[in-house]
């Protein structure tokens, strides 16, 4: 039952995208996410999809790995779609049956909402697919470092984050081991009532907690033994540097963002409607 839980979707590959500075990837992902919320036209969604596919190709990722992350939110997408489809009552009525009304505006909003969610999650998953959790934590630490000025313990937060990330696979492995051991003693986790199933988890959770506290103790000793926090400033073994490829990546996403903004705010003013030019009367 626990083997389907995957954390850290990191997909190892030798690509430019993988080697980008984690800070750059974090910021560009943020920009991409913000950009998607400015998209209102089908052209904009096409543009986003092209960018996404291009990144996937350059990152040498299989398309399936990106789609896998979408599978997780499928239910959310479905519910959102249904609510939008039936709740929007303005515009030209297409179908009417008893209290159920589907309008043209409803159909358009639904399609766009689905596209937005799917592109949003796939785009965000690219970050996790191409960046190791440790790189991510380091990147976040570096980005948050200005907060140290207002007495926020950024370095400790970053250390807590990397330790948490580091131990997630260990905890999963440990959980699997304990589950195996209790199963070997005849425990069953997938039969009986909900109450029985929750109760069946006790023999797994207690050893898991006990072992985690033990491990945390050992880790604290080990860190103390190596003089953690004895000096003010810790240096980094791997220093991230801004490379030419980072510059290209920034340029690409920035031009995408600009294009999205232009298409939404400037083109209508000068009378260009790309959606109409592509789809014509279809809409």
């Amino acid at each position: 039952m626990f083997k389907d839980v995957t954390f850290g979707q990191y997909y190892p590959a030798d690509s430019i995208v993988h080697k980008l500075d984690a800070r750059v990837k974090l910021l560009l992902t943020l920009l991409y996410v913000v950009g998607i919320f400015f998209v209102k036209s089908y052209f904009g969604f096409m543009l986003t999809a092209v960018l996404l596919v291009a990144i996937v190709l350059v990152a040498k990722l299989p398309m399936a790995s990106v789609l896998k992350s979408v599978r997780g939110i499928l239910l959310l997408v479905l519910i959102t779609a249904l609510i939008n489809l039936f709740m929007i009552k303005d515009g030209e009525v297409l179908v009417q049956w008893k209290i159920f009304v589907i309008t043209k505006t409803g159909v358009h909003t639904t399609i766009k909402m689905v596209l937005r969610l799917v592109l949003l999650i796939s785009g965000a998953s690219l970050l996790a697919l191409t960046t190791t959790p440790v790189e991510l934590a380091d990147g976040l630490e570096s980005l948050m470092s200005p907060l140290a000025l207002v007495k926020i313990p950024v370095r400790d937060i970053a250390m807590i984050m990397s330790i948490a990330l580091r131990f997630i696979p260990t905890l999963f492995e440990e959980t699997n081991k304990i589950v195996a051991a209790q199963k070997a003693r005849g425990a069953s986790f997938d039969s009986g009532s909900i109450f029985a199933r929750v109760k069946a988890l006790i023999p797994v959770l207690i050893p898991l907690f006990v072992n985690s506290f033990r491990r945390a103790d050992e880790l604290a000793f080990a860190m103390d033994a190596r003089c953690y926090n004895a000096t003010d400033k810790r240096t980094k073994m791997k220093k991230a540097t801004f490379k030419f490829s980072d510059f290209v990546a920034c340029l690409t996403v920035l031009s995408f963002f600009t294009l999205i903004l232009l298409e939404r705010y400037y083109f209508p003013k000068i009378g260009i409607n790309i959606d109409y030019m592509i789809f014509g009367g279809l809409l």
């Binding site: 997909y11 190892p12 590959a13 440990e174 081991k177 304990i178 195996a180 051991a181 209790q182 199963k183 070997a184 003693r185 005849g186 425990a187 069953s188 006790i202 023999p203 797994v204 207690i206 050893p207 006990v210 072992n211």
Partner: protein
Amino acid sequence: MQAVQIKNLSYSYSKKTPNEKLALDNIDLTIEEGSFVAIIGETGSGKSTLLQHLNGLIKPQDKKRSCVVINGMSATDKKSLRRLRFEVGMVFQYPEYQLFADTVEKDIAFGPKNMKLDPDEVSQRVKRAMSVVGLDYDEFAQRSPFDLSGGEKRRVAIAGVIAMQPKILVLDEPVAGLDPTGRSELLSLVKKLQKEISPTVILVSHNMDDVAALADRVIALKDGKIVADGTPKQVFSDRRLTKAIGLDVPTAARICDMLAERGVSLPRDIITMDELKSALLALLSKDAPLNADQPLPNIPIPNDGGAADV
């Protein structure tokens, strides 16, 4: 009767991803009831994967080609799965990390309770299991397993498995992390368990001395394949084989080799310290006049890892 029958068993982890790793490669294996089998091999050679097939914790990936039959029950059959798990007692590495109950008694009773035995039978089995592993019922039953020493915790964990009275007992490195006294006590306990409760024992060990002393059959795994299979004498005395597959040999056999290099020839099938002792004594009594005449040659002991272990 055959306790374990495995045919064409292969298994890979993370199938169809870039991290795919073949853990078992076409394993064929039968284990007779009543035998003490030691499985040896480096970390990652597939031992644990093989063990977990024995009680259906891992199911064969290729259901058509592979077959795993335990005491006449197929490990792929969902209906007999629970019964199978009670017949194969599995003691994992560091089993004390799986203790969970607030008293020793409750923890040991977990398995028998899952077997849906009646309360009298359960408490009887708990008492028997505790006495077999050498934990006094009155002293330990009501204590919390988390307050015990490492060796005691491990005994509790093993008692929890044998309270189910499995026909086959599987132990994955049961002595790892124990002190010398704990080790020898636990190993004699395993021998006792075989006599009293579980006639078939399968033991994973990295210690060749233990393997030589306990097992009547050794199976060596490497890269998911069985590379050696036979009595400890057969496997360890074939030095060409042990070298070829990078297998450690028991200390006694290593001492024999070192003595042979210095001109003392002993039978090459010596694998335990007791055998070595009697062979040396026999040799000494034969050569007694020679040794009385001249002092023993001063043999420098090579300063390598092997000698340090001796």
